[in-house]
């Protein structure tokens, strides 16, 4: 039964595999294009774009026959990464407008648009916005709006760009639709032709029990479609925390400049998706598929959340220059850890923060100077280890500008050496330091020392640690902290109080 308050938009991309290839190679949009699979010479066409279909190329056709029909046909081998990235891109684009989606099939998304009229206007405007969002991520979608998913799907199929079936008019809108314009299972299509059923209205008028007796479950499904009825529940899609964009390559790349061009295109598509969903990235994961079958994977924390291609590309390419892949690259995938974009920097009465564009430019130049690993904010880890910190994105425009809990207003700072430096320490009979060689001066006498102060942690884990600390004032005016390992009798300079 049709729910009178239900409104669903169907976003559908025709010939999705071909559209996914066009998304990665926009220059092919006006060219006859076929996606092929299998091994030569037995390759078959699995999908074709509109220009190729006009020239007579059809799915399941052999590659040789397709080329004979359309000599200008461009062929691309079907790549799972390209299709799955495009599928995610379509979902992301729709997710920017409504949080309730159903991922029905590659290139087919149902969007629950109930309540959106207050934000976006009438159904036609919502359909237009969905179509525009899809085109933003490089996928030309048709959008149909109706009370049921089935009716919306038919509307999308018949639409030029957008089509809206008013509430309650589903049966009337579907009745004149010719059955041959839709895809049917072969046995259903043959039966409908044999019975002389020309329109969905004719099909809807047939007795349901009779259809079930003659065609089984396929007949009932066909009848539901003709009536515009949904028989399955809406299965909401939940976006994973990472957003991925990938591209398989038909050729191997073994130089960084050539790889940079591909990574830039992949990042461009990823940032377009993030922008469509009003998100920014605070971390990237790069995964390169190598010709040898191995993978080159890198995870990078961005110094500040951003959605611009250029600074992200700079960070990735500097990292690749420092740690190049060990072999030719045949596939590129970039994942972004997405976080919500802030509506405006700072709040009323707070200091202004650096503009995101300025900050992104500065960060890319800093990365070029010191490397991507050396530019970040810091976050203290969940540990009692004295040097437990991790790199974290800068929250320059965070509105919660209150400092961390602290009961030490005037705290003594510590300058830490990473890693701790081995030093030679003379001790008395009780093991207390008397002189230190190799700290800040060649030899320094100990003026006063305190210790040993023993700490340990994570003894329940593989990252267990324990240390024996000595605070030492030297006659060269420095106050240092020494680490002592009684078992190996070694001394390390941990840092200095300042």
């Amino acid at each position: 039964m049709v729910d009178s308050v239900s409104r669903v938009a169907c976003v559908w991309v025709e010939a999705f595999a071909a559209a996914a290839v066009e998304r990665t190679e926009p220059g092919l949009r006006e060219t006859p294009l076929a996606v092929v699979s299998g091994t030569a010479p037995a390759r078959r066409v699995t999908d074709a774009n509109a220009a190729a279909r006009e020239a007579g190329v059809r799915p399941v056709m052999g590659e040789a026959e397709a080329v004979t029909r359309c000599p200008a046909l461009v062929r691309r081998v079907a790549a799972e990464e390209t299709v799955s990235a495009a599928r995610r891109a379509l979902l992301d684009a729709c997710y920017g407008l409504s949080p309730r989606l159903e991922d029905a099939a590659p290139g087919l998304v149902f969007v629950d648009i109930v309540g959106l009229e207050r934000l976006l206007g009438a159904d036609a405007q919502i359909a237009e916005r969905l179509g525009r969002a899809s085109r933003t991520v490089g996928l030309p979608a048709r959008v149909g709006v109706a009370a049921t998913r089935t009716a919306a799907r038919v509307a999308a199929r018949l639409a030029g760009r957008t089509a809206v079936i008013p509430p309650g008019d589903e049966a009337a809108a579907l009745a004149p639709v010719e059955v041959r314009t839709l895809d049917w299972p072969p046995e259903v299509a043959a039966a409908l032709a044999r019975w002389g059923i020309a329109t969905l209205g004719d099909l809807a008028a047939l007795p349901r029990t009779g259809l079930a007796a003659r065609l089984g479950a396929a007949g009932l499904t066909a009848h539901d479609l003709a009536c515009g009825r949904d028989t399955t529940p809406f299965r909401p899609w939940t976006p994973p925390p990472f957003w991925e964009e990938a591209q398989a390559l038909d050729w191997e790349i073994d130089t960084l400049p050539a790889l940079e061009a591909v990574v830039e295109r992949v990042l461009g598509r990823l940032t377009a998706r993030l922008a469509a969903a009003y998100l920014v990235a605070d971390g990237l994961q790069l995964r390169l598929a190598l010709l040898s079958g191995a993978h080159h994977a890198r995870a990078l924390a961005l110094a500040c959340p951003m959605d611009e291609t250029r600074p992200m590309l700079t960070v990735l390419m500097h990292d690749l220059a420092a740690r190049p892949p060990q072999g030719a690259v045949v596939g590129v995938a970039v994942q972004a850890h997405a976080v919500p974009r802030r509506a405006m920097p700072g709040t009323l009465g707070r200091p202004s923060a650096p503009a995101v564009r300025d900050l992104a430019t500065i960060l890319s130049r800093l990365v070029a100077l010191v490397g991507a690993d050396n530019v970040s904010a810091a976050a203290v880890g969940d540990s009692h280890h004295p040097d437990a910190w991790t790199a974290a994105p800068l929250q320059a425009d965070a509105d919660d500008g209150v400092a961390a809990d602290s009961n030490v207003e005037h705290a003594l700072a510590f300058r830490r050496l990473r890693p701790a430096r081995p030093v030679t320490v003379e001790t008395d009979a009780t093991g207390r330091p008397l002189a230190v060689r190799g700290a800040l001066s060649d030899v320094a006498r100990v003026v006063r020392c305190a210790g040993p102060w023993r700490t340990s942690g994570e003894w329940w884990d593989t990252a267990r640690w324990s240390r024996e600390e000595w605070d030492v004032a030297l006659d060269d005016t420095s106050v240092i902290r020494l680490l002592h390992d009684p078992l190996s009798a070694t001394w390390l300079l941990d840092g200095a109080y300042d």
């Binding site: 110094a303 500065i362 530019v375 810091a378 994105p393 965070a398 500008g401 800040l440 040993p452």
Partner: protein
């Protein structure tokens, strides 16, 4: 007049000008820098720290009340020229309330032309520049220069065999205060 009490009200740091904190290791200069970072970040401002030797300790800074997520930490692995170049970049980025250079133990003295160019950049971007090191870095380019000197240490535990350092006293001498004829000495106690 220079006063540590003004630090909390924000008038101690002057945006668009250069402030220098100099002193030997163990004199409390880094503690003073951390205190400045705390004051800036707890008010919601963003700060950047160019750390020439990468010796900044986030754990003690967090204990001192610095909001670490508001501090961009640039680690230069001991390369002075890179640290100065990074400082030059950040000084031109409007929006940071404070940009600091921790020059570490070796001298990073700027030429007069470099110092004045840095001051111009800070003025245009309205950024407070703080330079911390063993010796003066910006010379006459700095509006305020403070020298730190250790006065006392405090220890915990038995008198003859203490177990922990618990505090340090620092005297702050104003060496240069542009626009003011008087000099001042402040005393500060840092708790470990």
């Amino acid at each position: 007049m220079f006063s540590l009490g003004d630090m909390g009200s924000g008038s101690w740091l002057q945006r668009g000008k250069i402030t220098e904190i100099v002193g030997p290791l163990g004199s409390g200069r880094t503690s003073l820098l951390v205190r400045l970072l705390r004051e800036v970040t707890r008010g919601g401002g963003a700060a950047a720290l160019v750390d020439a030797d990468a010796t900044f300790d986030p754990v003690t800074a967090a204990r001192a009340g610095v909001a670490l997520e508001h501090v961009l930490w640039v680690r230069c692995a001991g390369r002075r020229d890179v640290a100065v170049a990074a400082l030059d970049l950040l000084a031109r980025c409007p929006g940071f309330a404070l940009v600091a250079l921790d020059a570490g133990e070796t001298s990073a003295r700027l030429t007069l032309a470099q110092a004045f160019r840095l001051r111009q950049a800070a003025r245009r971007a309205d950024v407070a520049l703080v330079l911390v090191g063993r010796d003066r870095v910006a010379g006459a380019g700095a509006a305020l220069a403070v020298r730190t000197r250790r006065e006392a240490l405090a220890w915990a535990g038995p008198r003859r065999r203490p177990t922990r350092l618990v505090g340090m006293g620092t005297a702050l001498h104003v060496m240069r205060n542009q626009g003011a004829s008087e000099t001042a000495v402040e005393h500060q106690w840092w708790t470990a």
